[in-house]
Each structure stands twice: as C-alpha cells, then as structure tokens.
C-alpha cells in the first residue's frame, strides 16, 4: 500500500518554545579534527529587511568527508562525538551565527566529487514548507568541478559560496530579488 507524505505547514512565529532545547550553534566541540570556521550571516526578505523569526538547520560531513549516517558506506573514519548537525535561530536583525569545522569532499553523482559544503534547511513564519540550500567555502579549488555548483551555473552559484571575512565566513540567505539565494527543488 502506498501512503502520501504528510503536508508541510509553517513553523509559525513561536517555534522557539518547541525547538530551542536543541539549538546548537557549535557543531564541533574542541578536539574535533578539521579547520574551525565561524559562519555569520543574515536572512533577509523581499524588502531587504532582516527576518527575526527564522531558523537555520545545518547538516554536514566530518573533516574526512564522511557522514555520521548508515547510508554513508565510504571507507572513511567517523569522528567520535561529531554528529554534523546544527540549529540556530535568527536574532532581531535577522542575523545568525554558528561555529563548525570545514567538512571534507564527499562523493557526487556518476563518479564526481562534491566540493566541501554544508546542506541547509531554512524555516520561518511565512514559509509553508522549508527552503533547502547549500553553503560552499571560499577559495577552494574544488568548487570549480562541483557538480551541483555547475548545474546552478555561473550567474547564480556565487550565492552559495561564503565570503571570507577577517575572523569568519559570511553567508547570507536572500529570500527574493536579484541576489536571491539559490534554493533547491528536492521534490518537497
């Protein structure tokens, strides 16, 4: 028998009471291998105004490019204590911030390799279902051959690549307009 997936609904404005117990703005405790990075960004709406009631979820591989999940059958080591999951809300100005390690490259379709990236879900009041996107790392030569960035194409793929700041990476989620972030259709 085939069932149909349950309809998505918005998180609404009051998700904090239900979701904050699992807020995690540091994905990698001290001692976890890999280059540590701080990511800062803002979620902005179609008027360029920061979205104060959004929540960003992060999923990523470890520094070897291995996901802590049974579907990842690569012969690569798991990192004890590294889950690869983060959840951060935006503040009154729409800003968010998290700390993690840069993941390794992971396999892509048809023998390709995917450049290091985070997969991201964004939920907020006003969104009836989540948006999914990716964050890639600046100045990484592997970006040029990444199958997903290449599919997106040069006109918009820059929205998926963070910019280097003095002590952190900057990556924004722009919901609408000329600099709109690329969001993916995963058949949600």
């Amino acid at each position: 028998m085939s069932l149909q997936a349950t309809t998505s609904q918005t998180v609404g404005p009051f998700f904090k009471i239900g979701l904050q117990w699992l807020y995690r703005d540091n994905l990698a405790d001290e001692g976890v291998a890999g280059e540590r990075v701080i990511v800062r960004g803002r979620v902005v709406d179609g008027d360029g105004i920061g979205v104060p009631d959004a929540i960003v979820e992060i999923w990523q591989a470890n520094s070897q490019g291995k996901y802590a999940h049974p579907a990842d059958t690569q012969d690569k080591p798991l990192e004890p204590g590294f889950l690869g999951y983060g959840r951060v809300p935006t503040d009154n100005q729409g800003a968010f911030r998290f700390t993690t390690i840069k993941p390794g490259a992971v396999p892509g379709p048809s023998g390709t390799e995917q450049a290091p990236h985070l997969v991201i879900s964004v939920f907020m009041r006003g969104l009836l279902k989540r948006l999914t996107t990716r964050m890639y790392f600046p100045n990484d030569a592997r970006n040029a051959a990444d199958p997903i960035l290449n599919l997106v194409g040069p006109a918009r793929s820059a929205t998926l690549i963070a910019k280097s700041g003095t002590d952190s990476l900057e990556w924004n989620v722009v919901l609408q307009g000329t600099n709109e972030t690329v969001f993916f259709d995963l058949g949600l």
């Binding site: 085939s2 069932l3 149909q4 997936a5 349950t6 309809t7 998505s8 609904q9 918005t10 998180v11 404005p13 009051f14 998700f15 904090k16 009471i17 239900g18 979701l19 117990w21 699992l22 709406d45 179609g46 009631d53 999923w59 591989a61 996901y67 999940h69 579907a71 990842d72 889950l83 690869g84 999951y85 992971v106 396999p107 892509g108 379709p109 048809s110 023998g111 995917q114 990236h117 997969v119 879900s121 009041r125 006003g126 969104l127 009836l128 279902k129 948006l131 999914t132 997903i148 599919l151 997106v152 918009r156 919901l175 609408q176 307009g177 972030t181 969001f183 993916f184 995963l186 058949g187």
Partner: protein, 234 residues
C-alpha cells in the same frame, strides 16, 4: 559512486507552494526564482540521527513540567511515524509546541490578551519506538487571533517537527482537531490544494488511547517521504 536513490516527489497538490498570497507573510518571504532541480547525493539521503537518550521520558508529558497542573482539558495525542511505503520509522525525534488552553503561547512575541499559565510551557519531545509510535499527554490548545486579515483566528493546533532518516525527509507540520469550525477559514490549513491531503492534518478522535476519567485520545499519524526504488540519472 553510482547515482543515489532519491526520495519520491509528492503526489500533485498534496504539498503547499511557497507563495500562497492568502497567507500574507508568504508574499515577501517566498522565493521569486524557480527552485533549482538537482540530483540527490549522499548529502541529502543522510541526516542527523540522535541518541534517543537526549529525550527524557518526562518530556512527552506536557502536563507535568511544573509544580501544579495546567488549566484546560487534558488530552493524549499519539500516532505513528511511517514512510510512504507504510514502513514504521523507529527512533526518530518528534518535537511539539503549542498554545495553552487560553490560546496563548509562552513566548515573548505573543501579546494576545489571554492569560499565561504558569504550569504550562507547551513544548514536548519524544522518540518513536520500534514500531514508529509516539505519545504525548498535553492540554487541548485554545484558538487565538492573528493579524493576517480582519477577524482572523487560527484553529486549535499543535506544531510538529519530525526528522526521519535523512535530510530529505525533514518535516514541520501542524495537527488540527476534528470538527473545528475555524478550519474552512484558515489560510495556513487551506494552503494545500488537495482536500484529502489537507484533511489528513486533522487528528482523529480515538477511543483506544482515551484514558477513562482522565483524558480524551486523538490519533495523528505522520507520513514521511518514501525512497525511490531505483536511482535516477538526470
């Protein structure tokens, strides 16, 4: 590496679009560009799996989180988390949050003129058992006004957040109550074109989970996307 088996696309009309103008806040927040179609990769078919011990058994009883008992009608909300192939999904995290019996959230942004209940926070967590079952004891939430349009009221609802086995299966939804007169007027409930899909968000009154002299039971089963049988090469 061979192409990765992805997750099934929804049956047409069973999921909302991002832009749904009757829900006014979607207008400035829904993307204006077309979403970019990409193949599934290892990144989307994996996802966080939490140690069930991060949730204490007490976290599923929202009526016992404070010194006293919360006001309102005690209810049991239970059901199963399944995939589209009717397979139960064990060990998956379910998070809920809701208004109190007066229709007020324990949240600084909620300024609705209705009393807070010092004995009710309105959030709970559970991990599904080996047959995909979860169960919460809580208080029936109240309806409340919002500013979407003139005289707008949300029907009583409980927010649900579910992970499932992969990034691709993550779902946030809302559960409603049978017979709620506000349902036909709620732009959030009505955002989905398919009436049957919409109505599956309404819980079912359930004798089996009703506790004599204690609490009425409502059943709400949640279905997460099923995996494609064969990998697709685009």
């Amino acid at each position: 590496m061979n192409p990765v088996a992805g997750y099934r696309a929804p049956y047409p009309g069973t999921q909302p679009n991002h832009l749904h103008p009757p829900y006014v806040s979607s207008i400035k927040r829904a993307p204006s560009h077309r979403l970019v179609q990409v193949p599934y990769t290892l990144s989307e078919v994996t996802g966080p799996s939490f140690n069930p011990q991060i949730v204490s058994p007490a976290a599923s009883d929202l009526t016992r989180q404070h010194k006293g008992e919360p006001l309102g009608e005690r209810i049991v909300v239970s059901g199963r988390v399944l995939d589209e192939n009717s397979r139960p999904l064990p060990n998956t995290l379910v998070e809920i949050w809701q208004a109190n019996s007066a229709g007020r959230y324990q949240h600084e942004v909620d300024q609705h003129d209705a009393p807070l209940d010092p004995n009710f926070t309105g959030c709970g967590q559970a991990v599904t058992d080996s047959e995909g079952r979860y169960r919460f004891v809580t208080i029936r939430p109240g309806e409340y006004p919002w500013r979407n349009h003139y005289n707008a009221w949300r029907p009583a609802h409980i927010h649900f957040s579910i992970f499932g086995p992969a990034f691709a299966t993550r779902l946030v939804t809302q559960m409603f109550f049978p017979g709620d007169p506000l349902l036909p007027f709620d732009p959030i409930f009505n955002c989905t074109a398919d009436e049957k899909a919409r109505n599956r968000l309404i819980s079912v009154f359930d004798w089996e989970s009703t506790i004599p002299s204690q609490a009425l039971g409502y059943r709400f089963d949640i279905v997460l996307r099923g995996r494609d049988a064969t990998p697709m090469e685009e």
